[in-house]
């Protein structure tokens, strides 16, 4: 499969976001793994360069080495701090500043959640936090729903990338609205990455076939029975979907067309 990766590199420019470029179009999270060793091996297998992390209080009663930096080499991976769990723009801005202060980069995966059951975004809060953070020099990668107008507003607000969901966070329901995702991708100038909802490799492949610039996923890998194998499957699926998109699929027809010559029959 190494040739596949080389061939892809030849025809596909790297993913460019906020002035940085990445070879892998698969971005992965670090949450929900059974243990740190499995997480590290899965991330390695995924080929991802961008790895998301959350900002939380140090648990002063427990081992001081539970922090992620004790397990993941920040010189090897591009750490993308998130604002997961934030329900207001102010809270998300506070977390973003803390994440930046950890000292790795100005990128933030911005989440402003609007509802505890669906984890769908509070789009008004999201747009307002994007404005503030972009003005502070952040490269905002905004997790949003699959609504075109919100995506356009986020771009106007200064987002470096817009990241609509395939389906709700952690649901594994796959790409529910390919039409919306294609429309968003067609209309935005900034990169569009699908964030959340992918359940298995075929979901990732179909999502990339819509022409998006990349996919961010966590649960699909972390909760697979064998996370390392699923990480590898996702890597191939993202590559396959990207190549298929670039290749351009054949038209859909409602009738059969033979593949073998109809002349020269006995």
């Amino acid at each position: 499969m190494a040739t596949t990766i080389q061939e892809q590199t030849l025809i596909d420019p790297p993913l460019a976001v906020g002035g940085r470029s990445f070879r892998s179009r698969l971005l992965v999270g670090t949450g929900k793994y059974r243990n740190n060793a499995e997480m590290v091996r899965a991330i390695e297998a995924s080929g991802a360069e961008v790895v998301t992390v959350a900002v939380r209080r140090v648990d002063l009663d427990r081992s001081k080495e539970e922090g992620l930096l004790y397990h993941l080499d920040p010189t090897r991976y591009f750490l993308l701090a998130n604002t997961a769990g934030c329900y207001t723009a102010d809270e998300a801005i506070r977390y973003a500043r803390l994440g930046r202060e950890a000292g790795f980069n100005d990128f933030i995966k911005l989440e402003v959640i609007g509802d505890r059951d669906t984890l769908l975004p509070d789009t008004a809060g999201l747009i307002s936090a994007t404005k503030t953070l972009a003005a502070e020099g952040f490269q905002v990668m905004a997790y949003t729903n699959d609504d075109l107008i919100t995506a356009l507003r986020l771009e106007d607000a200064g987002a470096a990338a817009v990241m609509p969901l395939a389906s709700p966070i952690g649901s594994g329901l796959g790409l529910l609205n390919p039409y919306s995702i294609r429309t968003i991708k067609k209309r935005l100038k900034v990169p569009v990455l699908v964030d959340a909802g992918v359940g298995t490799a075929s979901d990732a492949c179909i999502t990339m076939e819509q022409g998006v610039d990349g996919i961010l996923m966590n649960t699909a890998i972390a909760e697979a029975e064998d996370a390392v194998s699923m990480a590898l499957a996702m890597r191939y699926a993202v590559e396959a979907g990207r190549l298929a998109f670039l290749a351009g699929r054949m038209p859909r027809r409602e009738v059969a067309v033979p593949s073998s010559p109809t002349t020269g029959m006995l």
Binding site: G29, T52, V55, R57, V58, L60, G67, R94, L98
Partner: protein, 69 residues
């Protein structure tokens, strides 16, 4: 020596004063390179930890990166 009552990560904690944020991290056995410090909701950058004294009643948040999506 004075006793200072701080709120650290939401819980009350009594330490011996005078003390700086760097002293507090040392007492808690935390590596300053691995945590970000907020004092009364203002981030205190690493170079300033050793010169920033904590006062009675201060609220300190100590955060780091954990697994997340």
């Amino acid at each position: 020596m004075t006793r200072l009552t701080l709120t650290v990560n939401g819980d009350p904690r009594v330490i011996e004063g005078p003390a700086t944020l760097a002293d507090l991290l040392r007492q808690l056995e935390l590596d300053a390179r691995m945590v970000v410090v907020e004092l009364n909701r203002e981030i205190v950058r690493r170079p300033r930890l050793a010169e920033t004294e904590v006062q009675n009643g201060d609220s300190v948040e100590l955060v780091h990166f954990v697994g997340g999506g």
